[in-house]
């Protein structure tokens, strides 16, 4: 009996002593953490995608609490609703950021951009891009091996089996930018989603001269600047034989779309035009 008692008392004493020491050390080296960080973190979607530019949701939460205003900070996954909640916790106002979405700037489907050779190396765009320009005449276009698909945590981008081009699922894309980084050809761009998902963009990144670009692909931008002349809002720039529509200036008037002689400007989710010109036929959806 006494053995049992001794053991219980001794172990109890050791336990109590250790607890006291741990408590004292805990008090001494206590790190004050802003309780709001945890609250903000709880409000975030916990996707840890890195789309905000921070390594994960926790560091983004810390950055939000530390920052004086929420200007320039945004969670692409949660969008405006999440940022409003974060602002509420911090007693600030959330900046209104336009919702963005990834667009694939290549319209070179199999018919429009004939294959000139066959690639059977490792099935990865970065490997193929390091080897050569690609299996078509266009060395700027999509290689179709799906590095973007692999990079997407939200299952929002897939290769269309018919066109062999990636397609973005609008309801799933959070504009985290992972695919933009993964694409070795810099084809994918984050653009404003636009009201009712309506967007107009140049679906080509070919910087060759017009003749060369045209020869390699039927829907290549040839840098003719017709769209630039048509645009009433000066929203289109031409650099290195390639047109680009500036997101902030574009008012979605769609005048550039029929002006493009190759049909490389794409309009998405607009209602059908009243009079359909034959050129527009080429320019229908293939994002």
């Amino acid at each position: 009996m006494s053995v049992l008692l001794t053991a219980v008392v001794t172990l109890g004493a050791i336990g109590a002593g250790s607890a006291a020491i741990l408590y004292l050390i805990g008090q001494k080296f206590k790190v004050e953490e802003d309780p709001r960080i945890q609250k903000v973190q709880d409000a975030l979607p916990a996707a840890n995608c890195g789309g905000c530019g921070f390594p994960g949701c926790a560091s983004f939460a810390a950055a939000c609490v530390k920052a004086e205003t929420l200007e320039g900070l945004g969670c692409p996954v949660g969008g405006q609703a999440t940022m409003n909640r974060v602002a509420e916790i911090l007693g600030q106002t959330a900046p209104v950021a336009a919702k963005k979405i990834a667009v694939v700037r290549c319209g070179g489907t199999c018919e429009r951009r004939p294959r000139t050779n066959l690639y059977d190396g490792a099935s990865k765009c970065t490997v193929a891009a390091a080897l050569y320009g690609g299996d078509t005449g266009c060395s700027f276009g999509c290689l179709g091996l799906g590095d973007c698909v692999e990079s997407c945590t939200f299952d929002a981008i897939h290769i269309n089996a018919e066109t062999l081009l990636p397609e973005v699922a609008e309801d799933k894309c959070t504009a985290c930018g992972a695919c933009v980084k993964a694409c070795p050809k810099n084809i994918i761009e984050l653009r404003r989603q636009g009201p009712k998902s309506r967007r107009v963009y140049v679906s080509c990144v070919n910087r060759e001269k017009g003749g060369v670009a045209r020869k390699s692909c039927g829907v290549a931008c040839i840098g003719c600047s017709k769209c630039q002349q048509t645009c009433p809002f000066e929203a289109i720039t031409i650099e290195n034989n390639l047109a680009h529509i500036i997101d902030d200036k574009c008012r979605l008037c769609r005048k550039c779309v029929p002006a493009c002689p190759t049909g490389s400007i794409v309009e998405l989710n607009f209602p059908p035009r009243k009079e359909k010109s034959p050129k527009e036929e080429n320019a229908t959806i293939d994002a």
Partner: protein
């Protein structure tokens, strides 16, 4: 027993079909396209413009920066334009298009076949001539030769190694040069020895070129300091570090240059180009290209001007076989598949290989069976399967720790893999990423 390097290596079927065929000249084409990037390093700055008349040997591209090499016109005629063309890199890059008119050479070039052994020039003057002639390593790596012959301060070259290994299957261009230009190469070796201020040179030749070994052995007897060594046939013995190990027993440590063990390696073809540049004032405007393949009517070693389209060379060997599935520029192990037959011959084109379609495709990749064959054949002592996996999952610090930058891209791992895994494809990607990361860290 014959010498060879110690770690790894493979022995693919040799297939040296064109070994017995003397070098023939390809007729000068009607138009040449001379790329401005024919070497490792910065592309050249063009110094001619549209409409300019050029002769054979006229400077058309000037070296930019330290690691770069001049480019000269290989024909006489008029510059049509400076535009982009698809070269062996698979991308469209700047090139000078020249319409050929006649065959007029620069007066300074000595076109006589006489052998000129004596050289009064100082080593600095020889080096300047090599740099002016735009000579690059002609084994395929195309590293500017004058840079290689300027050892960094504090290092002292002890031995010159001449690479006559030609370990790539199929290729025979160096073999033919060694047979037909033996004396010129010997004279070139003495020039390089003078530049480097070394008194010893070893010519390493694989034992499948017995005639070349015998011929060099005969001439080397008369030259003190120069010896010939027969080597066991083993790929990739033509790699600098492998050849140094095979011939001298010295191993270059990870990340170090061959000069760290006192060795400088030059390809036999490069040495001939050095001889021609120094003694005959001839810039690097032509090279020997082996055009061969299983179904090629007449495998040949062709002397072609730079800028000649590959199609001209293919026509010279009896045309493209009907069942061709792949055209490779260079050897089958390290060469690159071409996307078009219009790709011009450059300073580094050692061969054009026409592979029939049943053999051209790759087999489907299967799972790694952990047999470690790739590990045992890697001549750099790396673990290719680990490096591939780390690259696939983008573990860049891991790939760096496992010495991915030591990879010489010889392809032995991919060749030997029973699961047909694209090991080198991934390692090459990882290597370029890690090099970029290291460079960014330094800046």
């Amino acid at each position: 027993m014959l010498k060879t390097f110690r770690i790894g290596g493979i022995h693919p079927k040799e297939q040296k079909l064109s070994a017995g065929n003397a070098i023939q000249s390809v007729p000068v084409p009607g138009q040449v396209v001379i790329p401005l990037a024919q070497h490792i390093g910065a592309p050249c700055q063009p110094v001619v413009k549209r409409g300019d008349a050029v002769k054979v040997g006229t400077l058309i591209g000037k070296a930019v920066g330290f690691v770069s090499a001049n480019i000269h016109s290989s024909v006489s005629g008029t510059v049509l334009k400076i535009d982009k063309t698809v070269d062996a890199s698979g991308y469209r890059r700047d090139a000078v298009f020249i319409k050929v008119e006649g065959d007029e050479w620069e007066e300074s070039i000595d076109r006589s076949p006489d052998l000129k052994k004596e050289c009064e020039l100082s080593s600095k003057e020889i080096l300047d001539k090599i740099a002016a002639a735009g000579i690059v390593g002609m084994g395929g790596a195309t590293f500017p030769t004058h840079v290689k012959l300027m050892p960094p301060p504090g290092s002292k070259p002890e031995v010159l190694i001449i690479n006559g290994v030609e370990c790539e299957p199929w290729l025979t261009s160096d073999h033919r040069l060694m047979m037909e230009k033996t004396e010129e190469i010997m004279a070139g070796i003495s020039l390089v020895m003078k530049v480097l201020n070394v008194d010893r040179a070893i010519i390493g030749i694989e034992n499948n070129k017995k005639d070349a070994i015998a011929k060099f052995g005969k001439y080397a007897k008369a030259c003190p300091g120069i010896s010939v060594e027969a080597l066991k046939v083993q790929y990739p013995q033509g790699g600098e570090k492998q050849l140094i190990d095979a011939l001298t027993g010295r191993q270059v440590s990870s990340g170090a240059l061959p000069i760290s063990v006192g060795a400088v390696v030059q390809n036999a073809g490069t040495v001939l180009a050095i001889y021609e540049a120094v003694q005959k004032n001839k810039p690097l405007i032509e090279r020997v290209v082996t055009v061969t393949g299983k179904d090629v009517k007449q495998p040949c070693n062709l002397l072609a001007r730079t800028g000649t389209p590959a199609s001209n060379l293919i026509d010279a060997v009896g045309g493209l076989p009907e069942n061709t599935g792949k055209i490779i520029s260079g050897g089958p192990m390290m060469g690159k598949a071409l996307t078009s037959v219009d790709v011009p011959v450059t300073k580094g084109t050692s061969g054009i290989l026409l592979i029939p379609s049943p053999e051209a495709g790759r087999k489907a990749m299967k799972d790694c069976i952990r047999c470690a064959k790739c590990v045992s054949v890697c001549p750099m002592g790396l673990n290719p399967t680990l490096l591939m996996n780390l690259t696939e999952f983008e573990v860049w610090d891991g790939t760096e720790k496992n010495r991915i930058t030591d990879c010489i891209e010889c392809g032995s791992c991919s060749y030997t893999c029973p699961a047909c895994r694209p090991l080198l494809d991934y390692i090459r990607l990882g290597k370029s990423r890690v090099i970029a990361i290291i460079r960014a860290r330094k800046n």
